[in-house]
Symmetry: C2
Subunit: 596 residues, 2 copies
């Protein structure tokens, strides 16, 4: 088996850190407690370990291919997607009345990690379909929802997000695709969209494109963008498929990674105009898209955790099997499996601690999302929404940068074999690189964190989280164990470094934006480390308590050891990041432009 | 032009930091002063910019291919290699009496950077040939030298290093290839060697394989390994080529990067035995190989600098051309080239500062090598040798890890386009990954640094360098400028962190080796940052002096700005590394082996 879903680790984090028992008290989630989660995760593991994971390297070897306007996906993908949909996984978090399972995001997040660890190229198809469903749920008419969502949940159709154009990458104000109103209320759409994930493929009967475009006469910039639904095949009143719409794939990209996932260039309206329907109101497209993008950003963060865990598992296996050199402590007289060598351990522990920290952060974020949407109390909803929104750029930005570090370490553990493609370790590095780019690069996430999430409220939201962290430090310090006392110190040092950075960003944000934004990515990294480390501290206490109660000694000791490592080797990076942010802003922009 | 050799930057570092004027006073190097260096670098730049660099992406698209025991290299490589050899570049540093130019390593190092920046896959052929020449110069008989070296310098033949076997990667004690003595004094060689760079190709008439093997009855482990020369075609007494030897390429690897460079599996003796000749004495093979490996390790470090500089240049170009989003400081009302955005500047400055710091460290190391070999005073030679040997693991380990960071940032600057292979940014990341693995992984370099270079002398050598750095701090602090005063503080903080780590490693090295080696790679990274940062501080002073003298204002201001950035954003990482090394050793090995 090439992937083993970390069900036990997930359930530990869901119970001890994300408090699934509280989620199960929210209206609508009464059935979604620990036992349901355990059953769902076990089923999910089975499908992804047995069916989806074995197709990962196949997809790299035999990527999607383009011929005559059609895309053929990797052999096996179509059947796996059928099984995925038939298992009900596409509808896991969506409303029951449209065919979904209406489970909380907390459970969905764990399942998302599994399918992405199994095969990130494959998982992009359901991920984008989720995004399209989310956008339609936000803004579409009841008729549109009834038309498009059930077939997507059934896996007969899939969804896409069409934002990027050649001249408009991260900057959607430059979108030029135009929509011309027709007498029947529909629109004709003309333009070119690039980087459209699963924009064309052979795994479903129809593809539901959600497209940003401008109606003639709309305001300039982002306030003149509307959202349209534009199916590949027109849909008849009875739900059957009609004529082919005028949206065509003209090429797919040759990429560093996620090769099985077709990245399409879509041409709208080359033969008279692609028929599209307005979703929601005119000129509010960006707002709707942001709802979907926040969901997608969370999902991409989970992809980072997923790829990193897969890379970790592979590296552990190799380090156990590969015999090379005697241990430095003289404990063996002949060559040992390399897992005995301290630097290999350091690499594996870094990978493990980073994965566990980011997973904990994401699951805690998912639980906050659930409370933000389902809690009966408005004030509690608002608090959870603010917390979730603060976490999204960290989950997306930090977890994906983390996945690059981890996947690179994974190759390194394999030594020379890691550089040979057939080994499979390099694929994770190649795949991981896109995660820090799409759905908003790390810099875009950091801009969001600096601007909307920190500067706007003068750092109040960030400081409120820091106060919670300080409380956790107090709990840690009050315990008897050396591990918890040491961790309290590490977390305190990291938190104080973070507070310095928050103060700096909040102070500079408006008057001297160049200084604030010069440290935006280091600030994002620092924030991610502190928040993930905080969760590791909570995990440490939960594990100590379980250990004292006699539960699962080996598992709990591993949790403690991993938390300690996180404190010593990840949280320890925070002070340096603080220095770079607070003391280093001026030198970022000091070099004259001509001198580069 | 896709690559512009940084001749001016190199000459600045050679003069102001590596003191080429002193190198030109060494016996034998009287002609090798600044003007010679300038002329050689200009010529070298011409060839590499015009001929070698354009083949880089070609080599990635059309890698070396294997068919029926033969390897066909990328179209254009053979002709480029002919031009390279005809220009005298293969013999640049080798003795004049064997056809070389006998120039110092200082000049050679700069030329090595250029050819590797132009095309690292191509450059591996001359790099390995240099290594083979070096090994023969160290240990071969005069007859062997006369037979093999001149044709290699002429580029008619090339050289390889055959160390690795499937069961013996980093651990050469496990080498199993055997050599059977023959009545005529030759040996018959039997075994399998893997990862042999340019082990088979079509760019030269003959290939001179240097092979580690065991003579029957030799001691076990590394003390029973001998070095043999084993040509692809036997060499007649008149130097003409004779029969095909029994060494055959059976496959080449499918790799993440450096795809144009054929990585061969070589089979020795499948048809009766490959004829080889002992080089030097029996059982001293590893010792000879270490001479060659030190040269190769230095060379691989320079490859890291080279790939990083190429990635930097490409990213700068893209950042100037790509228009996207308005500047955060409101300085422009429409979308600007992304080089105006602070985070893009931060990425470019990180790339630039890392490249300049590592280049300075490598060139200073090369000058020490020259003094260690050519200085008339034995004490001075010994001091320089010790300094050079301390630097080799930093140049190799730190510069290559640095190249991974820089190449990854290079992709990131390109956003989504960076993930598209045709853009070319991803190739540098794929190519860079091998640099931290071959010729000894970063962990192997770190073991060398911890064991032979720090623990063995109780940290005395490292502390002596720290004392020199402290003197530089004093010079910086004594100057009037804010830049130099601030840099003195940054360097001092970093040096003190380094000293803590040196003390820890030296204290733990013998009694508690697991604790010392748990921090080996962080210690290597910390050492590399401090030593490179020290050179940046010296560059800052040299640039301030030149500026005061009215020289090249823009160039010198750029040197100052880059040094400042290095202090704020690279040296600032040192304290966190110190904490991980000194406070985090135990948690590296705390997790039970079964718990991974």
């Amino acid at each position: 088996m090439t992937y083993r879903a970390p069900v036990k680790d997930m359930l530990f984090a869901m119970k001890a850190l994300a408090n699934i028992d509280a989620v199960a008290q929210l209206p609508g989630f009464e059935e979604a407690g620990h036992d349901t989660a355990a059953a769902v995760l076990e089923e999910c593991a089975k499908l992804n370990e047995g069916v989806v994971a074995p197709l990962n390297w196949e997809g790299d070897k035999y990527p999607s291919s383009f011929h005559d306007g059609k895309v053929s996906t990797t052999p096996g993908f179509k059947d796996a997607f059928r099984q995925y949909a038939e298992g009900g996984w596409q509808g896991l978090q969506h409303p029951a009345e449209l065919g979904g399972q209406a489970l909380p995001k907390l459970i969905h997040a764990a399942c998302t990690e599994m399918v992405n660890a199994a095969n990130v190229s494959f998982a992009l198809c359901p991920l984008l379909t989720d995004g399209a469903i989310e956008a339609l749920l936000t803004a579409a008419s009841d008729e549109q929802k009834a038309t498009y969502i059930p077939p997507m949940i059934e896996g007969r159709w899939t969804g896409t997000m069409n934002l990027t154009e050649p001249q408009a990458g991260s900057d959607l104000s430059q979108v030029r695709t135009r929509a011309e109103p027709q007498p029947d209320g529909s629109y004709k759409i003309f333009g070119t969209k690039i980087f459209i994930t699963y924009g064309e493929h052979d795994m479903a009967e129809n593809i539901v494109h959600l497209v940003l475009a401008r109606v003639a006469g709309a305001p300039e910039g982002v306030k003149g963008i509307s959202l349209f639904v534009c199916p590949k095949f027109m849909v008849n009143a009875d739900g059957s498929l009609g004529a082919r719409n005028d949206v065509h794939c003209v090429s797919i990209e040759h990429k560093l990674g996620i090769k099985a996932s077709p990245t399409a260039v879509l041409q709208y309206g080359d033969h008279g105009g692609a028929i599209g329907y307005l979703v929601g109101q005119e000129n509010r497209g960006l707002e709707y898209m942001f709802v979907m993008m926040n969901a997608a950003r969370f999902g991409v963060g989970v992809q980072g955790i997923a790829v990193a865990d897969r890379a970790y598992q592979k590296a552990v296996q190799y380090a156990r099997d590969r015999v090379q050199s005697r241990p430095v402590d003289g404990s063996m007289t002949s060559a040992a499996p390399i897992i005995h060598h301290p630097d290999v351990r350091r690499m594996l522990m870094t990978m493990r601690a980073q994965v566990e920290g980011c997973r904990a952060m994401a699951l805690v974020g998912a639980a906050a999302y659930d409370a933000a949407h389902a809690h009966p109390d408005a004030e509690t909803r608002a608090q959870n929404q603010a917390f979730y929104e603060f976490l999204v750029p960290l989950i997306k930005g930090y977890s994906t940068e983390m996945s690059l570090e981890v996947a690179s370490l994974g190759v390194q553990v394999h030594g020379g074999m890691g550089f040979i493609e057939e080994t499979g370790a390099a694929q994770y590095l190649r795949d991981a690189k896109i995660l820090a780019i799409y759905e908003g690069t790390t810099a875009i996430q950091a801009n969001d964190l600096v601007g909307r999430k920190t500067s706007r409220d003068g750092g109040a939201g960030a400081r409120a989280i820091a106060a919670q962290i300080e409380a956790t430090e107090g709990e840690l310090a009050a315990r008897g164990s050396a591990a918890s006392k040491t961790f309290a110190q590490r977390l305190g040092t990291a938190r104080r470094a973070w507070l310095d950075a928050i103060d700096f960003i909040a102070a500079q944000g408006k008057g001297n934006p160049n200084a604030a934004y010069a440290g935006s990515v280091p600030y994002l990294m620092l924030s991610g480390m502190v928040v993930a480390g905080w969760q590791m501290g909570r995990a440490l206490m939960a594990a100590e308590d379980a250990l004292a109660a006699g539960d699962e000694a080996e598992f709990m000791q591993a949790k403690i050891a991993t938390a300690r490592f996180h404190g010593d080797h990840v949280l320890s990076r925070c002070t340096s990041l603080r220095d770079a942010i607070v003391d280093g802003a001026d030198s970022v922009t000091a070099l004259a432009l001509d001198a580069f």
